[in-house]
């Protein structure tokens, strides 16, 4: 009898212990499942990210790429990438990357649009050998340089800064012998981020494309040495000689697509702009006959005459203020927008009108040259360049000279402000960078 009772005790004990052990094991299993589930989700997300980055890189290298990827193995999972053109007119593309890991999928979407140089508050292909950004310099808006970005002190950059060759900052050497190392003294503020290794060259076809746009819906000036343009609100006055009476036209009807181009001519621009326009100037070769020092436009040589081929035009001079009729700083809904695109240089004319400040509302583009002041070293101190827009130039040009201590001795000082509308909009047919930019990232 005692043996039977003990048997019951043992059986009962075993049953109780089995139930308790099952609960404890179940809890441990759920803990592991929890961790495993989180790990799986994170991995699926990271694989989707990888696919999205690979797809974006393909588009940066080949803007026409739309093939996508199917079932690419990556990190013990796989990703699929699709590219869709969601807006044909604006050529906006969307990359959708789906990453899968252990049966769990996650999606990342990137939206890209063609970027234009007008988005830059400041772009230069060449910064020059000894031009530094220093304390007191402030750039509002995106900035890029194809050369080395030289930093001294504490300049402030309020938009995203990119450079091709990286950053060089002022500093000093510390340590001795093998332990010697460079310590940077510069403390720049990058309030919009910084990225180096970004290659964004000036394309060769910007001016040609603009000329084509002028021929197809705009207006093309040809056969003129100089074109004087004065915007007067809704109308435009133009002439080919300073002494001529201007021809007045309705701007929107004159160039319906907003592009006005002067081929082989110098453009002299001023006025109050109403509407969206891009003014372009390109150089052209011209054959002239030189006869005893006098130029004659003849094709045939006579006696001591000789034929020479010269390149003319391609510069834009700002003879006076060029401003919007509706200032976007006062009216954020203003649709007035101006692009100034030259094959060579954009100069501030050395004349009476520009003796005391100049106001410019425009995105400026100088393909082979830069933006500067005519006769910058010899003209008297002329006040401030109040620019509201952006500058894209091959080479940074001077606008004035300064004494030690920062006093102007000739030309202008600078007050450049960025037109924030250029982040999402641009003047008509303004030069493209030739690549895409990411405008949104969904994950």
């Amino acid at each position: 009898m005692g043996g039977k009772a003990l048997l019951f005790v043992v059986l009962g004990f075993s049953l109780i212990f089995l139930i308790m052990e099952k609960n404890m094991t179940s809890t441990s299993t759920r803990t592991v499942d929890n961790m495993s589930s989180y790990y799986t989700n994170v991995n699926a997300h990271n694989i989707a990210l990888a696919g999205a980055n690979v797809g974006a890189n393909k588009i940066f290298l080949d803007p026409t790429w739309t093939d996508g990827f199917d079932d690419v193995s990556f990190a013990d999972g796989e990703y699929d990438v699709d590219v869709d053109i969601i807006n044909n007119f604006q050529n906006i593309r969307r990359i959708t990357s789906v990453g899968t890991f252990s049966g769990v999928s996650d999606t990342v979407q990137i939206t890209l649009q063609p970027s234009k140089f007008s988005k830059f508050a400041y772009y230069s292909a060449n910064e020059g050998s000894n031009i530094w950004w220093t304390t007191g310099d402030t750039v509002w808006g995106p900035m890029h340089t194809q050369s080395l970005l030289k930093i001294d002190g504490s300049p402030v950059f309020n938009g995203k800064v990119t450079s091709k060759l990286g950053m060089e900052s002022s500093g000093h050497w510390e340590g001795w012998g093998w332990n010697q190392h460079w310590v940077s003294d510069a403390t720049p503020e990058f309030n919009g981020g910084y990225q180096d290794g970004v290659d964004l060259p000036l394309p060769d076809n910007s001016i040609t494309d603009l000329k084509t746009a002028a021929e197809d819906g705009g207006f093309l000036f040809e056969g003129q040495d100089t074109v004087y343009m004065t915007f007067a609100g809704d109308s435009l006055k133009y002439r080919f000689s300073y002494k001529d009476a201007p021809t007045t036209v309705l701007s929107s009807a004159f160039a319906p697509n907003g592009v006005i181009f002067a081929n082989g001519a110098t453009v002299r621009l001023q006025g109050e702009v109403a509407g969206r326009f891009t003014i372009g100037a390109a150089s052209a070769t011209k054959t002239i006959v030189v006869d005893n020092g006098k130029k004659k436009k003849k094709k045939k040589k006579k006696n001591k005459q000789k034929t020479v081929t010269v390149t003319v035009g391609g510069d834009i001079y700002l003879d006076n203020d060029v401003v919007y009729k509706s200032n976007p700083n006062d009216n954020p809904n203003s649709t007035d927008m101006l692009g100034i695109v030259s094959e060579n240089n954009v100069y501030i004319t050395d004349n009476k009108a520009n003796k005391n400040d100049i106001n410019i509302d425009a995105a400026i583009f100088a393909q082979k040259g830069g933006f500067g002041a005519e006769n910058y070293a010899n003209r008297p101190p002329s006040g401030i360049i109040n620019l509201n827009g952006g500058i894209t130039q091959n080479t940074r040009l001077p606008v004035g000279t300064f004494t030690f201590g920062g006093n102007i001795s000739s030309g202008f000082s600078k007050s450049y402000h960025y037109d924030n509308r250029f982040l999402i909009s641009s003047p008509p047919s303004f030069p493209n960078t030739g690549s895409f930019e990411i405008v949104s990232w969904y994950e």
Binding site: N34, P142, G159, I438, Y442
Partner: protein
């Protein structure tokens, strides 16, 4: 006569020995049974304690994972909007940034309408009804709605901000939120009630969360 006497003597000897054995059996049973019972009680207490510990750890871990998944999903969308023209300058997406509070622009419904999302942690005095003196409520506020929270045992929610050059932004709240390039998020959870005066803790850190819409343009 002699056989009868011998038989009588044998019977008397057997009866004495059986009484002592029984007594020994009873004492032995008491000792062994008692030991078994003690083992059983101790095992029960230990199993109960382990079960409670394991359950608490599971609950704390599940709470941590649920919070972290929501945080990661929301923070990755800082500066995002389906209609990106609604946020033309993403560097201005973060409206307020402090060590335990952040407010930013986003598009929660992915419908092209800009929303504001705010995270902040409440004081310990809001949860006096739980034995844990350190637990707080983590609030998630969408636009101007009533702040929503859930008591998942969060005891720590800390944000650290870094510039693009990797420097920590030490002055808080951040004066110029455009400087923020990456964010470090620390979250710690504990169970509401202790076991043997000890609380189960789980800690999670996102070392450098990069909101890709912040500085993409």
């Amino acid at each position: 006569m002699i056989q009868s006497d011998f038989h009588h003597y044998i019977v008397i000897g057997c009866s004495d020995k059986m009484g002592i054995n029984t007594l020994l059996d009873i004492v032995g049973s008491i000792i062994v049974g008692g030991l078994l019972l003690l083992i059983l009680f101790r095992l029960n207490a230990s199993a109960t304690s382990n079960l409670y510990n394991n359950n608490s750890e599971l609950i704390v871990q599940q709470a941590m994972v649920s919070v972290v998944e929501v945080l990661e999903s929301d923070f990755r969308k800082i500066g995002y909007c389906k209609d990106w023209n609604k946020i033309p300058d993403p560097t201005k997406s973060i409206l307020y940034a402090d060590s335990s509070k952040i407010k930013y622009l986003t598009d929660l419904d992915n419908n092209g309408v800009v929303d504001t999302l705010q995270y902040y942690i409440g004081p310990t005095s809001e949860l006096l009804n739980t034995p844990n003196p350190r637990d707080r409520l983590l609030y998630r506020v969408v636009n101007s709605e009533v702040p929503k929270s859930s008591n998942v045992g969060i005891t720590r929610f800390k944000l650290t901000y870094y510039t693009v050059l990797g420097d920590t932004i030490k002055t808080l709240p951040v004066a110029n939120t455009g400087q923020i390039h990456t964010i470090q998020i620390d979250v710690e959870t504990e169970n509401a009630e202790s076991i043997d005066s000890q609380y189960v803790t789980a800690f999670w850190r996102q070392v450098k969360l990069s909101a890709r819409n912040l500085q993409n343009r």
